[in-house]
């Protein structure tokens, strides 16, 4: 199998389309969706530590309050915000609203997500 053949096969499911806003929205939506699923699974694992008693749980809470985990919280909240707002965009498109302006709507989603994420970051890291 040639290297070019491998690359063409590997990218068949996800062809980069650098000039299509819809492609960015699609990829970001999938990426943030995967983050949310991973977080949900991690959340279950963490909750299971409750069965080990209060001491272990309090240690965990201390860890979660550390700076690296707070930055992780910011990233998680950012993913939630984008995924939710882009979901609204997809619903609007499905309802036939803004179908000629899907790229503009994606831009609005990005700007709104960035603003809300910045607000969340300030609240989590500095407030």
């Amino acid at each position: 199998m040639t290297r070019a053949g491998v690359r063409r096969r590997a990218t068949a499911w996800m062809t980069p389309r650098w000039r299509d806003p819809g492609w960015y929205a699609f990829v970001l939506n999938r990426f943030t969706g995967l983050i949310l699923v991973a977080y949900l699974l991690a959340h279950f694992v963490v909750l299971s530590r409750l069965t080990a008693g209060s001491e272990g749980w309090n240690d965990l809470l201390g860890l979660f309050g550390s700076r690296p985990f707070l930055v992780g919280d910011v990233l998680l909240v950012s993913a939630v915000i984008f995924h939710g707002l882009n979901g609204v965009r997809v619903i609007l498109l499905t309802l036939g609203r803004g179908t000629r302006r899907s790229g503009l709507m994606f831009g609005v989603v990005l700007v709104a997500s960035a603003a809300l994420a910045a607000l969340a970051a300030w609240g989590i890291l500095f407030a």
């Binding site: 199998m1 040639t2 070019a4 053949g5 491998v6 063409r8 096969r9 068949a12 499911w13 996800m14 062809t15 980069p16 389309r17 000039r19 299509d20 806003p21 819809g22 492609w23 929205a25 699609f26 997809v90 498109l93 499905t94 309802l95 036939g96 179908t99 899907s102 790229g103």
Partner: protein
């Protein structure tokens, strides 16, 4: 002043197996002011390699046969001016469409998609045309079968190639077929809109679309398949397939 030389990177593969494919480089003289991408490709075939396989027919964006990926973007090379896609220095990459079976090199087999279009219960001619044919003594449509040409659609399959969902679900009806279905419901002629909605109201039909909108972005005929898919969803929500009240 001699024409500049363009370096073409052309995807070559024998048969339908892409795993043994590779890019082959050709150097061709081209006039960016006058040549289309198809002109350059045909010159490559004529002057350098008669084994190069690609499809073309009308040369004026009517048949949709020659559609290719030009530097990763679906285009009709017959009407794509070289100066629009080539900066005069770098190479240009030509690949076959994605999500459509490749016959060899740049030639794809549109049979799967066209069979799906033919699977929709669509009459070939409008009711008024059928009346006119009947009045003139022509009653047998066996020569043209039951396939429908969706007027604006070139059946070039650029939309299918651009759709990331079509890459992951080989059973997905695809933007071209779904757009044709909505158009057929909009103007049912002698077709059955409720039955067409039942055919597309499946997990491999309208609900598989992820609203990427790439199909509409690359459509050379302005069909806007994505908007057509959303239109079909609204028809289903309204219950047109149950009441038979479409369009």
């Amino acid at each position: 002043m001699p024409d500049p030389t363009i370096v073409l990177r052309v995807w070559r593969q024998q048969g339908s197996d892409a795993s043994n494919g590779r890019f082959e480089t050709f150097e061709v003289q081209a006039d960016p002011r006058r040549d289309s991408v198809l002109d350059v490709l045909e010159r490559t075939w004529a002057e350098q390699d008669h084994t190069l396989v690609f499809r073309h027919a009308c040369h004026h964006a009517s048949c949709g046969t020659c559609t290719l990926l030009v530097d990763g973007r679906e285009r009709l090379p017959c009407v794509t001016a070289l100066h629009d896609v080539w900066d005069g220095r770098s190479s240009m990459t030509l690949e076959p469409l994605r999500n459509v079976p490749v016959v060899a090199d740049l030639a794809v087999d549109p049979g799967v998609m066209l069979t799906r279009v033919a699977g929709l219960p669509l009459p070939y001619v409008r009711a008024v045309e059928a009346d006119a044919r009947s009045a003139s003594g022509v009653t047998d449509d066996a020569d043209v079968g039951t396939a429908e040409r969706f007027e604006d659609c070139l059946e070039c399959l650029a939309c299918v190639s651009a759709c990331p969902v079509a890459s992951g679900d080989p059973d997905y009806l695809g933007p071209a077929v779904l757009a044709a279905a909505d158009r057929a419901i909009e103007e049912p002629r002698s077709g059955d809109p409720a039955r067409i909605l039942d055919l597309v109201n499946t997990e491999h039909g309208i609900w598989q679309c992820r609203s990427v909108w790439s199909c509409s972005a690359v459509c050379p005929a302005g069909v806007d398949p994505a908007a057509r898919i959303m239109s079909l969803r609204r028809r289903v929500w309204r219950g047109d397939h149950r009441s038979g009240s479409a369009p």
